[in-house]
């Protein structure tokens, strides 16, 4: 079974350290997204895996082979580039067959493979054209075809959808999910778009400044972010984050945040001195509750409306049904889903788990 393993991989450009030391283990057949803001080292990580960049130190394994000293051609990988990188002087058919040709596959076998891939990606009518004569979506599919044709053990995709318009992107997302399901190959996908990462991945590696923040399935990333960065980065609209403190409210835990004192259903055992409190928009229930907040901003999106609230100095965001009419300046009562409040230790930013959870 093919695994991809990064062992203490670091990368520095001169004095600038891009990746201080990365440990990552990708299981066979997984769809893993490397997600993070630009400059977080996700593309560098992928390029090191491809062999286009040499790590400064550390080890990278694909299957049971150390690949650090192998040329890209010897790594049994295929890569789709953000720019697609189709060879402009070759036809679609020649582009797709190029990896086979370079590996000495006989002409007759190449034709068979080409026909398979062309059928899979609906490229048959385009085979004789040059890349310059194709639309963005078609170029995208040719780039995928060139990666698929050789049946490599690992697929690398570097922001392959970012040059497409929104509707085509949604369509290609669905196609990629379907493709991964059908092929069952390991795929490593670099993106800065959390929607892409959340919808397609079996696991997401959230990166920041070259360091892995959390590596977990999408629902865990969303529901149990490992630290303040992941909490703030994942989710649209973003989670409200505010400083708070924990206290003993007669045996159970009470979190003080802004003017609110929220009793939590946990025992008040050992607790950090100061915490960062995170509250997702869907966990703010507008309509009734013990607290009052002023409506600062109303953003209708159709199905639902995003509301910015000011609860006595504490800024919150809420999702309310699109049918609910709210006016800016109005004061509304609200409640919180207390068991879904996220707590992070202020000293190190890590998620803090109350005892008994």
């Amino acid at each position: 079974m093919v695994q991809v393993v990064f062992e203490k991989v670091s990368k520095a450009y001169g004095d600038t350290v891009a990746i201080p030391g990365l440990d990552l283990m990708i299981e066979s057949g997984e769809f893993v997204s490397l997600l993070g803001p630009s400059g977080c080292g996700k593309s560098t990580t992928l390029r090191m895996l491809a062999g286009l960049e040499q790590p400064t130190s550390g080890n990278i394994r694909i299957g049971d082979r150390d690949v650090v000293n192998l040329a890209p051609a010897a790594r049994d990988i295929a890569m789709v580039f953000q720019s697609y990188a189709l060879y402009p002087h070759m036809t679609v058919a020649e582009n797709i067959c190029y990896p086979l040709k370079k590996r000495g596959v006989a002409k007759a076998d190449r034709a068979i493979k080409l026909a398979e891939v062309a059928a899979l990606l609906q490229l048959e009518p385009l085979l004789a054209r040059k890349p310059g004569q194709l639309s963005g979506g078609q170029q995208q599919r040719v780039a995928l075809g060139r990666a698929l044709v050789r049946e490599p053990s690992v697929f690398l995709l570097d922001e392959p959808l970012s040059n497409l318009d929104a509707s085509l992107r949604a369509h290609m997302r669905a196609e990629l999910i379907e493709l991964h399901r059908r092929l069952g190959k390991t795929m490593v996908y670099v993106t800065h778009d959390q929607l892409e990462a959340m919808t397609m991945s079996s696991r997401i590696a959230v990166m920041r400044a070259g360091e892995l923040q959390q590596f977990a399935p999408p629902d865990e990333i969303y529901n149990r972010p490992a630290n303040v960065f992941v909490a703030g980065f994942i989710g649209t609209p973003a989670m409200a984050l505010a400083d708070g403190s924990l206290a003993d409210g007669g045996g159970h835990l009470v979190v003080h945040v802004g003017p609110l004192a929220v009793a939590l259903p946990y025992a008040a055992a050992a607790r950090p001195a100061a915490v960062t409190v995170g509250i997702r928009p869907e966990d703010v229930l507008v309509g009734e509750g013990p607290w009052q907040a002023q409506v600062r901003l109303v953003e209708p999106t159709g199905y639902e409306t995003i509301v910015a609230l000011d609860a006595g100095g504490l800024a919150l965001t809420a999702r309310v049904p699109g049918s609910k009419a709210l006016r800016v300046g109005e004061t509304v009562p609200f409640d919180l889903r207390r068991e879904r409040i996220h707590l992070f230790d202020k000293s190190d930013g890590r998620r803090w788990k109350p005892a008994g959870r």
């Binding site: 062999g51 295929a78 990188a85 190029y98 590996r103």
Partner: protein, 275 residues
């Protein structure tokens, strides 16, 4: 922009074209006039009789063909040498990081800025000391020395315009770096290579000064100096023969231009904008 009537455009352009083309036309006319008509006191634009005797004489009675072959060998070898070196050099300047890369590129350009007259004497002495004086090889070296810098810069701007992702993709797809260079970079740079090759060929074909100084035997003399020395003496200029030879000299360039003009203009344009 408002479109000007076609006749105004023609009125302006045709006189300019005629002005530029007239010497060429005169050369052609003179070369097919009988010698007697050349010096008639009332010169005529169109010849009364057409003769090709001057061409026959140039080809049969003079070493013209020898010079022509020399020029061909000279221009072709210079082009091959310059293109081989500058394609690899330009790629290196664009893709590989090494200390002094930019300095090197600027220094190369600096040599191009020196007037060629300045370099003749040292170059001549160097060629004598390595035993190459008076050979075609000495001219190939001399031409390479001033065609190469320009070729490097022209190709550099072309190669800088080729996305690096293309090579990365080729390498992931199974090519070595050299393989990626041949399969992807060269075809992409082809218009640039063609225009650089044309530039070099024309330069070597038309060069006069170095040919005059470095070579003085018929075995190694190219057309430019050869035609001059054989037909212009202190006492007499064989105008008809000179013009016939000049026409024959121009033919290869005209043929090449006809074939590659599209590449030449697009090449210089693209290189200029990107550089």
């Amino acid at each position: 922009m408002k479109k000007r009537p076609a006749w105004i455009v023609s009125l302006v352009t045709w006189p300019i074209v005629l002005l530029i083309a007239f010497p060429l036309l005169w050369m052609l006319i003179t070369s097919i006039k009988p010698a007697a008509e050349l010096f008639s006191t009332s010169p005529t634009l169109l010849p009364k009789a057409i003769t090709f005797e001057h061409y026959a004489r140039v080809l049969q009675d003079t070493p013209f063909l020898q010079y022509f072959a020399n020029s061909m060998i000279l221009a072709t070898s210079t082009t091959v040498v310059v293109i081989s070196i500058s394609v690899l050099g330009a790629y290196s300047l664009v893709r590989f990081a090494y200390p002094g890369r930019e300095t090197l590129a600027s220094l190369v350009l600096f040599t191009y800025l020196l007037p060629s007259v300045v370099l003749i004497s040292p170059l001549y002495l160097m060629l004598v000391s390595i035993g190459l004086a008076n050979t075609l090889a000495s001219l190939v070296i001399a031409y390479t020395s001033f065609a190469l810098p320009y070729a490097l810069w022209l190709l550099r701007s072309f190669m800088a315009g080729i996305p690096q992702d293309l090579e990365s993709a080729a390498m992931v797809d199974g090519a070595s770096r050299m393989g990626a260079f041949i399969d992807v970079v060269l075809p992409q740079a082809l218009p640039g290579i063609i225009s650089t090759a044309l530039f070099t060929f024309i330069l070597a074909w038309n060069e006069y000064l170095y040919a005059l100084v470095l070579v003085n035997s018929d075995e190694a003399r190219p057309l430019t100096t050869g035609v001059m020395t054989m037909l212009i003496s202190a006492f007499n200029i064989e105008w008809s023969l000179l013009m016939a030879a000049s026409v024959l000299m121009s033919v290869p360039l005209i043929i090449i231009f006809a074939f590659f003009q599209r590449h030449l203009t697009s090449g210089f344009g693209a290189g200029g904008v990107k550089g």
